[in-house]
């Protein structure tokens, strides 16, 4: 999968909230926060990424370790959200991504999209997460009972 990096796009608004950190915020507070941004909001669509207890190969996962090139990751997410605003007319979005170690069952990603209607909310959320996965410089290492693996992409997963 080709990765794309775009930095030429200047953001017209600065109301985006992106956080890449060891700890995620309280989800309810994020929902309250995004609700306050506009009285046109009619739908809030949320994705929660959770550490799965089994690897693709069926091994028991002990934990995940995330590593980010933070300043570029933030810029990349800003561009993605800006694109989604233009493409679907969503009102705002919040993305939070955990770094460092995460236990099985732990929440590691919050993506929250506020829109006038549900349809553009769902479409935007899917595209946001898909692009987050392929374009944003955040790497994941899966630590399992049998070894640890950098998950670089589905085709080229290598055993360390």
């Amino acid at each position: 999968m080709e990765m794309k990096w775009r930095f030429s796009h200047q953001l017209e608004e600065d109301i985006l909230k992106i956080k890449i950190a060891n700890n995620l915020s309280n989800l309810n507070e994020l929902i309250d926060e995004i609700k306050k941004t506009s009285d046109e909001i009619g739908a809030i669509t949320i994705f929660i990424g959770v550490v799965r207890g089994k690897s693709r190969g069926g091994e028991k996962v002990l934990r995940l370790e995330y590593e980010a090139y933070e300043k570029v990751a933030v810029k990349s997410l800003e561009n993605i959200i800006s694109d989604l605003k233009s493409k679907y007319g969503i009102l705002d979005a919040i993305v939070e991504h955990k770094t460092s170690s995460a236990e099985v069952g732990e929440n590691v990603v919050y993506a929250i999209v506020a829109s006038k209607h549900r349809e553009e909310g769902f479409k935007s959320l899917i595209e946001l997460i898909e692009r987050l996965k392929h374009e944003v410089p955040i790497w994941k290492k899966e630590v399992t009972e049998k070894g640890s693996y950098w998950i670089e992409n589905i085709q080229e997963e290598k055993k360390k």
Binding site: M1, E67, Y69, I129, E152
Partner: protein, 108 residues
């Protein structure tokens, strides 16, 4: 001599055992940095370094028609911008060598 900061992530950080380091690298290209400077400083890891980031043929780095080494699906950013291997480094540049991403939130 001018200083260039080089940052490593994921597999590369683990391989070299450091997150970042500096090089006196005025006027050299990114290709020079990756092919010569980094492996010379990390001699005990140089073979694995080459095999990790470059396409290789019979243990030799594959060279394209334009005479440049062929990267695997790694990306090189300088000051946050995607650059070609021919980019000449300048004083104060921050080079980041990014392994492919693919977090797997949407696995089927």
């Amino acid at each position: 001599m001018a200083k260039v900061r080089v940052k490593y992530f994921g597999r590369l950080r683990e391989l070299l055992g450091i997150k970042e380091e500096e090089y006196d690298a005025y006027g050299i290209t990114v290709a020079d940095l990756l092919l010569k400077y980094v492996p010379e400083r990390h001699r005990n890891k140089s073979k694995e370094w080459m095999e990790t980031i470059f396409m290789t043929v019979r243990d030799e780095v594959a060279i394209s028609k334009d005479g440049l080494p062929i990267l695997k699906n790694y990306i090189v950013l300088v000051n946050g911008r995607n650059v070609k291997l021919t980019y000449r480094l300048e004083n104060g540049d921050e080079v980041a060598i990014l392994p492919p991403v693919g977090g797997g939130y949407f696995e089927n």
